[in-house]
Symmetry: C2
Subunit: 684 residues, 2 copies
């Protein structure tokens, strides 16, 4: 805060133009740059290094897109049901419907191994900004610069992997102003221990999603194994079962996926006028597609459901984001902030490069608009497999520093895990998805485009997709392994229609990927300068936009006022039963039998859900919420509808993070799910 105040005084600018560096409980902080002063000042609490290290090492990231925490010495992991649902779906069959019925392993032997899950524990962070920047010559073309940057990043990751044996990812922070090397311990033997029924986890369904008050048991417990045995963990969270009170300080340790708060006004206009409308059209299209597929029968409904839920969730989130962006007030606020920074830079006679950076961002938006929707990467599992096989064969022949990101040695193991996953692939669903993707390609490029003609091969998208899916052999994991083993020769000689299709699309895929990387590099360079300019005016000490890497957020348990009504911060089981009754007859509002049977036994006043002001976003799902002592008190599972704009603008007026109470999870395990054994292991 000091430099900020210094700058203000020097520049003689009024304070009102510069809201504090962060607002209220804003911030998703790096574990190697925690806001200790701010925390002390705002909440009278200064965590020590051991507290932070313990919390970091008790936190995990799910490669399926979410967060979690270690909650016992014998490997138990807590996350959301909706984070685990990808795995639940892959482990389900028509006969064993884990999504509908939930699951409880009563012995270690009964625990079910996830087919392709990888959990990452963040072991260390190293700032490698200087090393990256030394190797990048910004005077060359963005295309060249992007290659240089990719090369040095690949080299750093490679070296680190060799040296430590740990998964090593270089993360781009502050839009390109910093690069940090994250080393992760990987857990790849992850087994399902307990999951509730979707009716309890997703109680209220799409209707209640992003709403509050809520009554959801959106929790699932897994266990990490090493060498075929439950992992012995040094770091795991103990639990505090006292009910939370209004005003309690809490912390969230998790992996927020993406925010866009650094975005300039021009970048936000691109989101508002082009990108989000495009994404929403796309999501609605996929939502209808999955719904239609589900109408074919109960088994088809089961097959489509996990993906459908994800789509609906995203659609609702983007709808809220767009409404916020279409509110002229949002831009008044953002424009004022931006103009003040630009004015200050000018007055301060700063390097003109800094001011020009905003212009560079503006120009980049036009390029991104051009590229929007120009993908030839067909979103079907089988096609993605085919394309990955084609790319691996080609990339394997290149020196590591020239490979596409995701195809280096450092990422190979993760790539193979998804490529060789034994998760079921449903031919009927694949046909529907591929037909739609081909149809999108026809729409976007026009049916007279030579590439489109080649892809259609004289047939309608539906006919062509049916042919491709029926005739490919890639549904077999063994076949994929064979192609992998034989490398380029297998690709060259393959008559598999999906491999042939992927090869037809390969050069266009590479062209578009290069174009996207080029514009990303241009933006990276520009945002590095935007960050520098902003820091010159407002001071450093902030946090970078979210990058699906571990962050610490903080906040207080706090209700809010909505349409004149006061919303209490916590709910309990009693409220859940009442909510079901009030919505009787509506889809997704029936509590499962297990809950109805347990109603008389349960302590109805046990806390179930709560809200707090911590700054979270998608990817934080499954994050542990801890108290000052670092004890688990909750499990993030949602943000309310008012928090959706926090992608680009944090506010704590009404925006809240929604959590399952730890005490509610324990009560449900013991009373509803007869899982006392499991509850006994938790926190010890």
């Amino acid at each position: 805060m000091k430099r900020f105040l210094v700058c203000l005084i020097m520049l003689n600018l009024s304070l009102c133009k510069f809201p504090a560096l962060t607002r209220g409980d804003e911030g998703m902080y790096l574990f190697n740059d925690l806001p200790l002063e701010l925390l002390e000042k705002r909440h009278g609490f200064r965590p020590d290094q051991a507290w932070a290290d313990h919390l970091r090492l008790s936190s995990v990231r799910f490669n399926s897109g979410g967060s979690g925490s270690f909650i016992s010495s014998n490997g138990l992991v807590l996350t959301n049901h909706h984070v685990a649902s990808d795995t639940l779906h892959k482990l389900s069959t028509p006969e064993r419907n884990l999504i509908d019925d939930g699951f409880l392993a009563s012995t270690l032997e009964e625990e079910l191994k996830a087919p392709d899950l990888e959990l990452n524990q963040l072991v260390s962070i190293e700032n490698v900004t200087d090393r990256v920047n030394q190797e990048v010559d910004e005077s060359v073309s963005p295309e060249q610069a992007a290659k240089q940057r990719r090369a040095i990043i690949a080299k750093i990751e490679e070296e680190s992997l060799e040296k430590t044996g740990l998964r090593s990812d270089v993360i781009t922070l502050f839009g390109g102003a910093q690069y940090h090397l994250y080393r992760y311990k990987k857990y790849t033997d992850v087994r399902l221990v307990w999951a509730p029924e979707t009716a309890a986890a997703f109680f209220g369904g799409d209707a209640d999603n992003f709403e509050y008050p809520r009554y959801n048991l959106d929790a699932t417990i897994m266990r990490v194994y090493e060498d075929g045995k439950p992992a012995e963990l040094d770091h795991f969270l103990s639990w505090n079962l006292e009910p939370l009170q209004d005003g309690d300080l809490v912390f969230v340790s998790g992996n927020p996926g993406r925010t866009q708060r650094i975005f300039t006004v021009d970048a936000l206009k691109y989101l508002r006028d082009d990108r989000i409308p495009y994404i929403l059209d796309f999501l609605r299209r996929k939502e209808i597609l999955m719904q239609q597929f589900g109408l074919r029968g109960t088994e088809q409904q089961r097959r489509a459901r996990d993906e459908l839920f994800g789509i609906q969730n995203a659609r609702k989130a983007y709808t809220g984001m767009l409404d916020g962006l279409q509110n002229p007030e949002t831009f008044v606020t953002k424009s004022e902030q931006e103009q003040a920074i630009l004015d200050a830079l000018k007055m301060n006679k700063s390097d003109p490069k800094l001011i020009q950076a905003w212009d560079q961002v503006r120009k980049a938006q036009a390029v991104k608009k051009e590229l929007l929707g120009q993908s030839v990467s067909l979103r079907s599992t089988l096609f993605q497999i085919a394309m990955d096989l084609v790319l691996i064969a080609a990339e394997d022949q290149k020196p590591i520093e020239e490979r596409l990101s995701g195809f280096t040695e450092a990422s190979r193991e993760s790539l193979l895990r998804s490529l060789l996953s034994t998760a079921p692939i449903y031919e009927d669903l694949e046909q529907v998805k591929l037909a739609d993707e081909i149809s999108i390609l026809v729409e976007k490029r026009g049916a007279d485009d030579p590439l489109v003609r080649e892809i259609l091969a004289g047939k309608s998208p539906r006919q062509r997709a049916a042919e491709l899916v029926t005739k490919t052999k890639l549904i077999s994991v063994e076949q994929r392994q064979r192609v992998l083993d034989t490398g380029q020769k297998a690709i060259d000689e393959s008559t598999d229609p999906l491999i042939l299709l992927a090869r037809s699309l390969e050069s266009e895929y590479r062209r578009l990927r290069a174009a996207n990387e080029e514009i990303a590099e241009t933006e990276r360079q520009a945002y590095a300068l935007v960050t520098e300019g902003t820091n010159q005016v407002k001071g450093t000490g902030g946090y970078p936009d979210a990058t699906f890497s571990l962050r610490l957020a903080f906040g207080v348990v706090s209700g809010y006022v909505e349409d004149g009504m006061s919303i209490q911060p916590t709910t309990d089981f009693e409220g859940g039963y009442a909510h079901a009754e009030a919505h009787a007859g509506q889809v997704d509002f029936d509590l499962p039998d297990s809950w109805m049977d347990a109603k008389s036994k349960i302590n109805l006043n046990t806390q179930l859900n709560f809200v707090c002001t911590a700054d979270i976003i998608g990817g934080n799902s499954g994050s542990p919420v801890v108290n000052r002592k670092g004890e688990l008190v909750g499990l993030i599972f949602d943000g309310n509808i008012q928090s959706l704009t926090s992608d680009y603008l944090y506010t704590d007026q009404q925006a809240r993070a929604v959590s399952v109470s730890g005490v509610g999870i324990i009560e449900a395990l013991r009373t509803i799910y007869s899982a006392g054994n499991l509850a006994d292991q938790i926190g010890r």
Copy 2:
């Protein structure tokens, strides 16, 4: 056919390039130009004038978008449940749910009057092409020509209305090559007599829609009144209750809404690459919007349902159409046909204007692409009322020939009927719809557009819509009547936020409307020439594209082969019960209690649905199907999925029209609905 053969011989072209003028049972014929020769040749049947007149006068058109027939001397009208559903919805309340529960009036007094339904009986047709063309100077700009055409059409309609007192509409046929004056007797006192439950009418729901075999009782019976008494009808259809046999010749008399078979290859490409993708994005958006609204509760679900069904129906139809258009084969066929005509015209040294017409159509597509989606006509009932009020006040001050179409004296009564409808308007639904429409406007024009800024008034679309709907007084029919009565003064002085909004949008609305009319005129002139050129090569004797006016189609009862399976042409009640059982647990596959209760009493082998090769399209819903004797044997309610491409290309290989059997309706009335009294009135 003679001229066709003559042309062929003269031009020495191979026959294969010119498929017969029509294929198989293709054709939606004008009642003043019936294909008597073709019918005699193909089916050995030549209807006489009395047969045709009786059928025409027994047919009615629903202004809500559909067809129907008179089926008794005391005013009974048969149509589809899904045509009547607009009325069922408007007559429903939370307490009287006609959509869910169906309806049966046991006395005349119990019959329920529809709030805004108008039925049209086609009394006469007059060819006024010469009179229209005399008044249009095609050497002036399309904008001027469109005005001239609108003026002469308004004049003809006005004169006819004055002279005959009948509703008089000039219909544009053959894309603009002919103009016919249609005179209709209007029935505006229409009452509901019987409707089944939606579960029976729409059995199988969205999943079974456009599929076959089917088992749907998609039928509803209304009654027309005159002077407060059941109308006494001279023309009505008698019924034949013999089961239909494979190969039986049948006729369909109804109002197909729109086909696009005259479209050139360029026009079809515009449909494929621009218009239909745009419409589908739009429909999916509205589908999700209505679904989301319905998730709020059972009452909201009821409010949204009728519109949601309509949207889903259209979405499924357009999806099928697009898949057909994206099939390269479609264009091979169409291009060959078109090229052959162009070659013949060139070889024949025809007027170059004819050949240039194809070019004109091509250029018009680029203009239409520009205009696509550029609407400021917000699709909300309340906004439409506001806009109509604003337009009426202004148009009323102009001479009739200068008014916008739809605002002349001839259309006034129909316009007022919808404007002053007592159908309920739901504020919550209006808010959601208006917010979405405003959001679309922001997306299409960009948030920085001055008009958009004016509309938003500094708020988000959701906030702004809430304000508009809460504050307007137009929900009251009396208020609308007051504004109407006071005319321009009421508009000028109004502080109603929706009227103010409509006034802000009025000039842009008029600009866009004029631009659309201009391009429509350009296309009309071009298609008149395309028709002339095509006729020169292929001969006349065909039928014009559908225009939601009365047509006769014919065909035979006939099954088809799909995926190697032979589909039988008829189904029965037994199959219906079996279908329900096979899909137990799936949404929309539960037959209503009335059906389950009647299962033991019903004659299970009674025919329920059948398919035939007649050429139909949307708008034909509710059309009577008659036999050679002109007796009713069925009721059109759907086309199968293979018929969806018939919008632009008829085929009878698999494409079929789907009907409810007349005998099935009678059996259901007597056995399931205890409506023997009603059944006794039918056909006599």
